[in-house]
Amino acid sequence: MSELTAAIIGGLSLGAVYSLVTLGIVIIFRATETFNFAHGSFMLLAALIVGRLQSHSGLPFALLALISLAIVGALGAMLFRFVLRSTIGRPHFVAVIATLGFAAAADGVIGIVFPQTQYTITIPGLSNGSARIFGATFSVASLEISAFAVILTVALVLVFRFTSLGVRIRAAGQNSLLASQGGINVHWVYLGSWALACVLAGVAGIAYGSVNSVNQGIEGLALLAFPAALLGGLDSIPGSLIGGFGIGLIGGFVAAYIGGEYVTVVTYLVLLIVMLFLPHGIAGTRSVRRV
């Protein structure tokens, strides 16, 4: 019984963070049809900035979070403006490899600027202590963080679904020519999508780092969002919730019943299986073509 609750609640709380990361990856894919392999670097960078400044300066957490999110969002916008915009009209893989190169460079810079391997983030107002739910123990803070991540993700999904801003973003991603004919400034929409996705990555990084510690492992978390994005449907914004929680639950069950070291490999096996049998994902459009 306690294993079952541990699997479900642990999986759901990790799934909440996954959904936030996955939402960013899906937004970028919708806007520019690129896999952003630098997503993990943005997560790590935001968390590291908060962690480092918190230990060195006495500034309040809210200000530090705003600063780091602004930096990450600006970097994302710059990555699009100065790198990815010049790959438009070239084969799709050019943009993907450019994000990969950016990730490598960012990792190197992070390694030089942040010499410590581990940082901690403390968010004031989070309760400490733990709760027992059906025989399994959880830290209250991690549940609060997960609730926050879910609320943010759901709010954004609703914004994308129901506001005119969301319609514009979706339209620009679907058909840039028609969208620009319809009076949408496609360039700004792309730029905004990248900035928004990177800010979300930053939020996820800070949220995850506050209940766990901030280290290179965060980047592996971002890569695990790719199986989640594929499971939910790469082009489906609500699908990021399905995919995030799906991968989170799979991870929770594997960790509880088989062992923690199997989580990553099982998740990527799921990726291959989804690709083989359900390449458009659970909620994605069925436009995926087999050749």
């Binding site: 896999f35 392999f37 790198v83 010049s86 790959t87 070239r90 084969p91 799709h92 893989f93 050019v94 993907v96 490899i97 450019a98 990969l100 190169g101 950016f102 990730a103 490598a104 460079a105 960012a106 990792d107 190197g108 810079v109 390694g111 030089i112 890569l223 790719f226 199986p227 594929l230 070291e261 199997y262 990553t264 490999v265 990527y268 096996l269 990726l271 291959l272 299986i273 690709m275 083989l276 390449p279 995926v288 073509r289 087999r290 050749v291």
Partner: protein, 349 residues
Amino acid sequence: MIREITGTGSAAQARAFDWRSLIKQRYLIIAIAFIAVAFVTAAGSSYSIYIVDTILLSAIGAMALDLLMGTGGQVSIGNVAFLAGGAFATVWASRAGVPFPFDVIIGGLACAVFGFMVGLPALRIRGMYLALATLAAFYLADFVGQQYQDNTVGAAGFFLKPVFSGTIAQQSASWAWLLLAVLAGTIILFSWLRSGRSGRAWRMIRDHEIAASIMGIPVSRYKLSLFVITSAIIGIQGGLTAHFTESVTYDSFTLSLSISVIAMILIGGLDSQAGPLIGAVVITTMPIFVPDIINTFASSSNASQDASSYAEVVYGALIVIFMIKAPRGLVGLSQAVGRKVLSRRGGPR
């Protein structure tokens, strides 16, 4: 019409040269590599021979990745999975008693099967799903390698007996000649594949997948065979690496190793004979020079400590810069410069 579409990126150039010069170019590269190896093994120190060995090793893998990404247009970011797969399969075969060249071949065959398993789901779908599938392959290979290592020898890793006898310099020299032979074989095999029917099909798929299938090219079969061939070659590189370094641990195979190979082929120039070799030389010798260069600029006390971080920055920056500004790499740049010089000499036409 067909020729124009299937030309190697610049159709005018393909018409200016003909296929015979391409064949000549292939032997010219082998001859240059031969002279370089002969010179270094005769006159160089054991350290410089060792560097030549590592360049030759990484050139084999870079050739394979270039065939996959440059000629076929299929993105693989977890190609180190096949390096690890080949190394561990070779270790397994070697421990089972298979003698030297055959265990490496078993490593290559194992990677061909592994590549088939990973490529099958991804390559039937149009788009860049292979990038994600190879990411999965990396974590799979890492996991299997880790389990195998932990259950047999533990954290220290596997140790293999040296293949050649003699002093260190003699061993390195023997390795250089062996690796040169493997590289020459790879170059000949790949240029044969590239210049024939399969090369045209791969380029057509890269440039326009829909048009390729309309023209009757069995797209997924060609993509899958390309991925299997290149995986097998990278597996052989992995097996050779295992014997060359004489030790194998799973934590030496990292994603940033994959990225360095991508940097090699982008810097050298995609879909070219000489590109991967030039890239291999540049990227392999970079960690040797980068700390010195940084010391002259920054003179920080921990420059050598941060050398791998600095190297990562340089790889990443080079990937981005070459991707945006010089998509055809150093080969493309030198050709453009050469054409400019020639046209100036010949005067305006």
